[in-house]
């Protein structure tokens, strides 16, 4: 199994032989990955290699065809309804596009999981939301605005605030720096590191951005053609000895990864 720790009790999430196809198109062809408890794992890989699908399978947003997904040692593939809702309370997620609810104010977005998932009163949720806004470097006045009134970087910060508001045990980051300028990307990376450390959460991120990888990762896994082809500490990334990893991290057109020319 590709993973950072072999003892299953040390791992928060364990994926074994995870497969998912859309029609005849096999996206995941047996993903094996272990995410150590309290650590930050970053999955890298080219577009269309199955990074987002892997995250969505763990969250139950997509149903995997076969394999196993264990969270805290419990199998979660078959969970539905109230059991799935209960499991989701462990998770926070920062979506690539923010996925903020346009019809709700910023504080209602951040407090959404608290109000509806944890039955916190609206007044208390608003106070927590403002506190989280300050944690991600935004002023309390932003709380009364709507998502459409914010810039892309501010929306990402709000999305991060929403992801951490419920104090989740596991946080997923789906391409957290995509579409941001380098400075804002670095700000978001620092916020991610700070928030994950404050919460003591386990983080699983997917990104193409190597600067982001080096900043937020404790461990890195590379996915290619639906399989994990390398996994190890971020310190070993530059001496992985894997030609696919080398090509990807250096952004070279020449190398064993050739599917970028398939269209």
């Amino acid at each position: 199994m590709s993973g950072a720790a072999n003892d299953s009790s040390d791992n928060k999430i364990v994926l074994s032989g995870l497969c998912k196809a859309f029609g005849k198109n096999e996206i995941l062809r047996g993903i094996d990955l272990a995410v150590p408890r309290g650590k930050s794992m970053v999955v890298i890989g080219g577009s269309g290699t199955g990074k987002s699908v892997t995250l969505k399978c763990i969250l139950g947003l997509l149903e995997a065809d076969s394999g196993s997904i264990q969270v805290d040692g419990h199998e979660t593939m078959a969970l539905k309804g109230a059991d799935r809702d209960e499991l989701m309370k462990k998770f926070g997620m920062l979506f690539q596009g923010g996925a903020l609810f346009d019809s709700l104010k910023i504080w209602e977005n951040i407090g959404f999981g608290l109000i509806h998932g944890q039955k916190v009163s609206k007044k208390q949720a608003r106070e927590i939301a403002i506190e989280k806004l300050q944690d991600v470097g935004l002023k309390p006045e932003v709380a009364e605005l709507f998502p459409a009134e914010l810039s892309g970087g501010m929306q990402k910060r709000v999305s991060l605030a929403r992801a951490i508001a419920t104090k989740p045990e596991i946080i997923f980051f789906d391409e957290p720096t995509t579409g941001l300028d380098p400075i804002m990307a670095d700000v978001i990376n620092e916020l991610i590191v700070k928030c994950v450390k404050q919460l003591g959460a386990t983080a699983l991120s997917i990104t193409h951005d190597m600067a982001s990888v080096r900043k937020i990762a404790d461990y890195v896994a590379m996915i290619h053609e639906g399989r994990i082809i390398w996994c190890g500490p971020v310190a070993d990334l530059d001496r992985s000895g894997n030609p696919y990893v080398d090509q990807f991290i250096h952004g070279r057109a020449d190398g064993p990864i050739t599917n970028h020319t398939r269209f």
């Binding site: 926070g92 996925a99 609810f101 999981g113």
Partner: protein
């Protein structure tokens, strides 16, 4: 290479001209279309059952239901009111044109009130709300699907069926009968205005003829129909939005499909319910 390509294309052309292949292709298209249709019916039925189930099981989102009641009910009032008013007025005018040939002008009040309460108010209100609300529901939920807001709901431990679908279905099913009841009154008033001020009827006799012919079941059948149409409009909007394809084109298609399918289902359902109530 070019010669090979030419040979392949001529072989394909020969295959397509073969009568056996043509018949098989015909069966393949018809069968494929039929299977897709049956799959869509199955998915829609399953979606309706899930939506209904979530309407009656906690947790409930009363603030969402209230918001949808205002969106679907209150904001549709001008459209439904105007439609009913002018339909009642036109009905009185057209009935007068026809009935004077048989000296049956006294039947106009009855024709207006029965046509409005039994058929026109529920069907026209259903179609108008399908255009206004069905499209809006499909576009809103479709956009939420495309921008991952529905996925975000799930990650926040909130079931999208309970938060998005059930409130709309409850509001649609409850509000359309109320809209139709108001439409009934406005439609009859439209007929009254034309009959009194344009055709010279006596107000007292027009109203007494209206009351004499109108029965409890005439109004109630229209309200039952309206509840069914409200359910159809909201479910079709939610269904097409929820399964919207990616991109602006996907949301556009979802909106169109929601309005078209709801309108057709309303007309079919109207025939079935009329048969049940009045046969």
């Amino acid at each position: 290479m070019q010669a090979q390509a030419q040979q392949d294309s001529s072989q394909k052309a020969a295959r397509s001209l073969n009568p056996v292949n043509a018949v098989l292709n015909c069966f393949r298209y018809v069968g494929g279309g039929l299977l897709s249709f049956m799959e869509a019916i199955g998915n829609l039925t399953f979606f309706m059952a899930r939506a209904l189930g979530h309407c009656f099981s906690p947790p409930f989102f009363p603030s969402q239901v209230a918001r949808q009641i205002i969106d679907i009910g209150y904001y549709s009032l001008p459209v439904v009111g105007m439609t009913a008013l002018f339909t009642g007025m036109v009905l009185a005018l057209q009935s007068y044109t026809g009935f004077t040939r048989f000296n049956a002008e006294s039947a106009i009040a009855g024709v207006v009130v029965l046509s409005i309460t039994r058929e026109l108010a529920p069907v026209l209100a259903g179609l108008m709300v399908a255009g206004r609300v069905g499209a809006s529901i499909a576009a809103e939920i479709g956009t939420m699907r495309v921008t991952e807001q529905i996925d975000a709901l799930r990650t926040l431990s909130v079931n999208p069926f309970k938060y998005l679908i059930a409130p709309r279905v409850i509001a649609g099913t409850l509000m359309l009968p109320i809209l139709v009841l108001i439409g009934d009154i406005i439609g009859v008033m439209g007929g009254y205005i034309v009959s009194i001020y344009r055709l010279g009827f006596s107000p007292a006799s027009y109203l007494s003829q209206t009351w004499e012919i109108l029965e409890y079941m005439d109004v109630m059948s229209g309200l039952y129909k309206a509840a069914a149409f409200g359910f159809i409009v909201s479910v079709m909007g939610c269904y097409h939005g929820f399964y919207s394809q990616r991109g602006a084109q996907g949301v556009g298609a979802a909106t169109t499909n929601a309005v078209v399918s709801a309108s057709i289902l309303i007309l079919i359902c109207n025939y079935v319910l009329t048969q049940v109530f009045f046969s």
